[in-house]
């Protein structure tokens, strides 16, 4: 054998080994375990404050703080896939051979070598024995196929042939799940968007990396409600959303936790919420001229103070600033100058800091609202994964409940005398020998009773 094919053969043998499969399973289990003990998704900064420099370096080098997304963990999954495919391909010819051997020649000597076999003697003539055996076996096990024999009666019964395929179904299902996950990670995204009631957005901030995805449509939050049980525990979070596609309202629906909305392959989930300032009535008094003007400011939208070119905007809000109560962050933009800003305390109108440049500012009225936190996801691989899930359940279920079982029977007229007919029965099963043994013995007893006397 040539050197090259020798190596190829060696690699193929290694990948095809069931020991390698067991080893990969246990290694994956051990690595996953490490990932549950160390906090995942920690930043460089957290890493260095929490651990000593040496430990932090090890964690950082091996990527243990983001273990499940590291190259080496993914390589383990690739190794599992290769092993799975090679093992399966290697097993296939054997299965095909087992299933193609339909008509094996039967001889009495062969039958007595099986793990499950028995011999029964009957006083009945052969043709009666034949009829009885055929009916009992066909009724209790499966249809008996006769094989041609001049001097004896011989037959084979086979049930659950297809159960040999179930292991392939399970292996294919694992492959589908892994491929589906790969499709999802290559072509999909996962992120979130926060939308204030009445507001709309099409930008999704991604969880991984610092990127934003722009949706091909706009999501508007019409309203958000949260309700509570008497105990104070939250009962329901509900967002009323409208999808605006091409400037038109395409779809309006409420979503709650466990009931998301899907549009154009993108799914929106209720995930969090928070309180925001929706609008406020604010009085601006020019300390130079003494002139006051009252404006209703929408959160985040700029407004112009009448008779001036000064633009003001509410940019921030805190429900409780220190111990001074609610505070509104207001910015003032004057042409040709840097924007100036200040916190205006709502409950303390006399506070000396409630001013920006020459404006004394007082918040007269505030109106709170909510923003809804939506999780946004696109995953074109999910149906591949689900197909894998279904195949896995069918495969494992069938593996549990079925097995490939075969029975051989033989009847001939041995020595002339009282029990002149000899019946031999042998059986084989692909799994669950204990149950098969019971089935085999029950069948034997039934045959013995019906064919009367017994020798062995």
């Amino acid at each position: 054998m040539q050197q090259k094919s020798g190596l190829g053969q060696y690699l193929y043998q290694s990948f095809a080994s069931m020991k390698l499969s067991v080893f990969i399973f246990l290694t994956l289990a051990a690595c996953s375990l490490v990932g549950t003990l160390l906090p995942q998704g920690t930043t460089q900064h957290e890493l260095h404050t929490r651990y000593s420099p040496g430990v932090a370096r090890i964690i950082d080098t091996l990527g243990l703080n983001d273990l499940y997304h590291t190259t080496w963990f993914r390589l383990l999954l690739v190794l599992l896939t290769v092993n799975l495919v090679v093992c399966t391909l290697r097993r296939l010819p054997k299965t095909l051979r087992q299933l193609s051997q339909r008509d094996e020649s039967i001889t009495p000597d062969k039958l007595t070598k099986f793990a499950y076999h028995c011999e029964i003697r009957s006083p009945l003539p052969r043709d009666q024995v034949e009829a009885k055996v055929t009916s009992i076996i066909s009724h209790n096990f499966g249809t008996l196929r006769r094989s041609d024999h001049s001097e004896a009666f011989a037959g084979i019964v086979e049930v659950g042939r297809w159960s040999r395929w179930m292991v392939y179904v399970v292996h294919l299902s694992v492959l589908l799940v892994l491929v589906g996950a790969l499709i999802g990670s290559l072509l999909g995204f996962r992120g979130y968007m926060n939308i204030v009631e009445g507001g709309a957005s099409r930008d999704v901030r991604l969880y991984r990396g610092n990127n934003t995805v722009t949706l091909p449509f706009e999501v508007r939050c019409n309203s958000f409600q949260v309700s509570f049980y008497d105990t104070g525990a939250p009962k329901e979070y509900r967002s009323d959303l409208t999808i605006v596609d091409d400037g038109k309202d395409a779809l309006t629906r409420s979503i709650i936790v466990n009931d998301p909305l899907s549009y154009a392959g993108v799914t929106l989930y209720q995930s969090s919420y928070g309180a925001v300032l929706k609008r406020a009535q604010v009085e601006f008094r020019n300390t130079d001229t003494g002139k006051s003007s009252t404006l209703t400011l929408q959160f985040g939208e700029a407004a112009v103070i009448p008779d001036t070119t000064d633009r003001v905007q509410m940019v921030d809000y805190q429900k409780n600033m220190g111990q001074f109560g609610p505070a509104v962050g207001i910015a003032l933009v004057r042409e040709g100058e840097q924007p100036k800003g200040s916190w205006i305390l709502v409950n303390l109108p006399q506070f000396h800091g409630n001013k920006i440049q020459n404006y004394q500012i007082q918040v007269l009225k505030t109106e709170d609202g909510y923003y809804t936190g939506l999780q946004v996801k696109k995953d074109p691989g999910v149906w591949v994964v689900y197909t894998g899930f279904m195949a896995m359940l069918v495969g494992i279920g069938m593996t549990f409940y079925t097995s490939h079982r075969k029975l051989w029977v033989w009847a001939d007229t041995a020595n002339p005398g009282k029990n002149s007919t000899r019946i031999l029965m042998a059986g084989k099963t692909s799994k669950n020998p204990v149950a098969f043994e019971r089935e085999f013995n029950e069948l034997r007893e039934r045959l013995e009773n019906d064919l009367k006397s017994r020798v062995t």
Partner: protein, 282 residues
């Protein structure tokens, strides 16, 4: 009559059941084992009534959810599932001496649920995340899997005990009524295959549920990851039977390692690691 009375009776009845089985094995007295089986069946019926009554009580309180929503309710269900699977197993195999461990496990689960001061047995309303039809399917599938693994772990211990004594096909003493090791190995395999099916179903329903609730069918949450670890261990076990010379003792040990993983998935993750399943600790 209320559910907590029925469940208190259940706790003590499981103790009685365990004592029957244990003394049956110790004194090599088959009738005691049979009595253990009947005690187990009776207890299971009382417990079933208790669980159904608690379900009804939750509707009376206006919450209306299946009693599978927190640690207390899951422990009660675990005890129920272990006894159910064991009794079916006993009925199908006609072997009565393997009930020692399942009945002790059921008793311990009930005792922990009833007597631990950290576990609140009050019926609580469901948090929004748990309001889904997937809840019943997911919890039932997971716990049937766990229960099958618990019974298998008991069988594995018996297998190892049986193997530890020198090659004697008919041992005297406490092992006299225990089936022979070849059968124990096969029972272990059957139970694990059964548990594996339910664990797979549990992980899959959880995964589909997570996808419909928060948009990700897999997010490496500690509970998820630990259930995968458990799944991998049992997958390794099922495959290792095909490796030459790996039947028997190695499989029994892997079955015990798998059960330790089940316990950690169930308890360890709740108490030591934080994640999406935090509501399971209360």
């Amino acid at each position: 009559m209320n559910s907590s009375l029925l469940l208190s009776i259940t706790t003590f009845a499981y103790l009685v059941c365990a004592i029957f089985y244990l003394s049956g094995v110790i004194f090599r007295h088959r009738p005691l084992l049979i009595a253990g089986g009947f005690a187990g069946l009776g207890t299971l019926l009382i417990q079933t009534a208790g669980i159904l009554l608690r379900w009804k009580e939750s509707y009376d309180l206006g919450y209306g959810h299946a009693p599978l929503s927190n640690l207390y309710e899951s422990l009660v269900f675990a005890a129920w599932a272990i006894m159910l699977i064991y009794l079916i197993f006993e009925y199908k195999t006609k072997q009565h001496a393997m009930g020692v461990f399942p009945s002790i496990f059921s008793f311990l689960a009930m005792a922990y649920a009833s007597f631990s001061t950290q576990i609140d047995s009050k019926i609580q309303p469901l948090v929004p995340a748990l309001k889904s039809n997937w809840l019943i399917a997911h919890v039932v599938a997971c716990f049937l899997g766990y229960a099958a693994f618990a019974v298998a772990a008991g069988v594995s211990v018996l297998y190892l005990a049986r193997k530890a004594s020198p090659a004697n096909p008919h041992p005297k003493g406490m092992l006299a009524l225990i089936p022979e090791s070849r059968q124990l190995d096969e029972f272990n395999y059957q139970l694990i295959l059964f548990g594996f099916l339910w664990l797979s179903l549990g992980i899959i329903t959880g995964s589909v549920w997570a996808n419909s609730a928060w948009g990700s069918y897999w997010s490496w949450d500690p509970k998820e990851t630990w259930s995968l670890i458990t799944w991998l261990i049992y997958a390794a076990l099922l495959h290792s039977r095909s490796v030459q010379g790996w039947r028997g003792r190695k499989v029994a040990w892997l079955s015990l390692v798998g059960f330790v993983c089940v316990l950690f998935t169930y308890f360890g993750v709740n108490f030591l690691l934080s994640g999406l399943h935090s509501y399971a600790t209360q």
